[in-house]
């Protein structure tokens, strides 16, 4: 099995069909030296939609997320928000436009309190809106992740599961149009994962943003996503309703394995 795909012959540069699509990615490509981490990927996430992104290890999921969130510059391709293309070359710019994310390895400001962690993002939001910091919204978010009692503790001292929730709340403080979650259920047990399912849905319902979730936990991803994208060797393998994707023999072959 070769882990390296060839570059797409021509990156399909089709513009997104609707004006109010939320996030669209067209023909996105990224290579590191000889490694094509992603290769001509198209992906859409409407406002209020939860989209799952799965694929074997090293398929390029995190890289895609890095590019969309401005953490990494693409080699080529375009990213659209509401039909307007923008160069996702600066993470700050992306955050200001309302693309928020969490990280595969939790990245909190460990020494800052839970509240201050969330505040950091709220400050950005206030700057963009030229409004005062919305303290009430910060309180609401702390309530939402159910950490009222620990709001003053340094984030680094919290248990793993709590840290995950703080990270999500922090991203929400940007009042994002699109929220990107990279393996939010990793390291959680079945019970916690189930709770997370509820949380993710609640986010969509309450805050109305589009959500792209990467996850290897099948139960979780099947339950939570409305549509599912499958990546393989940097390219999009297939896309569709979760149940359909699940039974796609190619997906079983490269990703799910025989038992599933």
């Amino acid at each position: 099995m070769s882990a390296q795909a060839k570059p797409a012959e021509t990156a399909p540069e089709t513009p997104p069909p609707f004006k109010s699509w939320g996030l669209s990615v067209r023909g996105l490509t990224k290579h590191f030296g000889g490694v094509y981490a992603i290769n001509g990927v198209n992906l859409d996430c409407k406002e209020g939609e939860i989209v799952g992104l799965i694929g074997p290890n090293g398929a390029g999921k995190t890289t895609l997320m890095n590019i969309v969130s401005g953490t990494m510059a693409p080699t080529s391709g375009a990213v659209y928000l509401d039909g307007t293309p923008f160069a996702p070359s600066s993470a700050v710019d992306c955050a200001e436009r309302g693309i928020a994310r969490t990280f595969q390895n939790i990245r909190l400001f460990k020494r800052l309190s839970v509240r201050d962690n969330i505040r950091v993002a709220a400050v950005t939001r206030a700057r963009v809106k030229r409004a005062p910091i919305d303290e009430a919204f910060i309180d609401e978010l702390i309530g939402f992740i159910d950490l009222g009692a620990l709001a003053g503790s340094p984030a680094g001292a919290l248990p793993y599961g709590h840290q995950r929730r703080v990270e999500i709340a922090r991203a929400l403080a940007l009042r994002p149009r699109v929220l990107l979650l990279d393996e939010p259920a990793a390291g959680m047990n079945e019970q916690e994962t189930e709770a997370l399912t509820g949380t993710v849905r609640a986010i969509r319902d309450r805050y109305g943003c589009g959500i792209v979730v990467i996850e290897h936990d099948l139960t979780f991803i099947m339950q939570v996503s409305q549509r599912l994208y499958v990546m393989h060797l940097g390219a999009l393998l297939t896309e569709g309703a979760p149940q359909a994707v699940r039974h796609d023999p190619r997906v079983i072959e490269i990703y799910l394995g025989r038992k599933k």
Partner: protein
């Protein structure tokens, strides 16, 4: 012609001296992430060791050289054991300040127990001699220094690239505990890194002392400063970078000394630092430093 050649050799040997020191800094930095400002004091320790050894028993100068290097290695070991081990994995700030602390302590210990004023030190006569090469008369010291530096660099690169110890050293930089999980005595690995840096400082000390003929408590400061600049110029943490940075800095300094007219020459150091600074703005990772695109993966 003779002049140009002579200045070229000067530049090379100054560059080698910086490279030796920078290499010592770089190896410690790349392995424990510590900018060891006390590196210069290793030179001082070597100097005083030679001074005392000569006063106590006046043996032959080669024995003194060995004693000097041994003292420097020992001091590096002791610094690690007493101070730096306790702050492993600490933030950079902590490391820098601790190293300052060690450096100030050592300097003042010599002030208290020896003297502030410089003490004379003997080094082998041989190093002060001159060889005739065709029409050229070349100082042995400069030839030896350039040669020794080259050998030291090659040996070090080989060690780090091809031995398990070298692998372990590079690994311990980022995750000490994980190295222990490989069944390796990680403490020893780090000690070894410090001792190598002590050895390099000891070598440099011999050359510095041969030129200066004197040791004083504060003599380590200027060299370590230059070495630090050289390291960053080359790309902090990269050993070839340290060497290149040292050579470039030395050559550049000598070149400016030579070409600048007298009234501008007073600004030489300002020019050196301005150029180094601008180079770094242009190449933030240093001349040899490579930047890897990590995205969110920079753990």
């Amino acid at each position: 012609m003779d002049y140009v050649l002579q200045q070229t050799l000067n530049a090379l040997s100054v560059g080698s001296e910086y490279a030796l020191l920078a290499l010592g800094l770089a190896i410690v930095f790349s392995i424990v992430g510590l900018v060891n400002f006390a590196h210069g004091e290793l030179i001082t320790v070597a100097g005083y060791a030679i001074y005392f050894a000569a006063a106590l028993m006046a043996p032959n100068p080669w024995v003194l050289v060995a004693i000097g290097i041994a003292a420097s290695v020992g001091a590096a070991w002791a610094f690690e054991r007493v101070a730096f081990r306790a702050i492993r994995n600490a933030p950079v700030n902590t490391g820098i300040l601790t190293a300052f602390g060690v450096s100030i302590m050592v300097q003042n210990a010599f002030v208290i127990f020896v003297a502030t004023r410089p003490k004379p030190v003997q080094t082998p006569e041989f190093l002060a001699s001159v060889v005739q090469l065709g029409p050229l008369r070349l100082p042995v010291l400069q030839l030896v220094e350039t040669g020794v530096t080259a050998v030291a660099i090659l040996a070090l690169v080989a060690l780090l690239r091809f031995t398990t110890l070298g692998l372990a050293m590079r690994a311990a930089a980022k995750d000490f505990t994980a190295v222990r999980l490989m069944g390796i005595r990680a403490n020893r690995v780090i000690q070894a890194a410090f001792m190598i840096s002590g050895f390099l400082a000891g070598l440099a000390a011999i050359f510095i002392l041969s030129r200066r003929g004197a040791v004083d408590p504060f003599m380590g400061f200027v060299p370590v400063l230059k070495a630090f600049v050289a390291c960053v110029l080359g790309g902090l943490g990269s050993l070839p970078g340290a060497v290149v940075g040292g050579l470039v800095l030395g050559i550049f300094e000598v070149a400016l000394q030579v070409v600048l007219p007298q009234d501008v020459a007073a600004y030489r150091d300002a020019i050196v630092f301005a150029v180094v600074g601008l180079t770094l703005v242009r190449f933030p990772a240093g001349l040899l430093g490579r930047t890897v695109e990590l995205g969110d993966k920079d753990t």
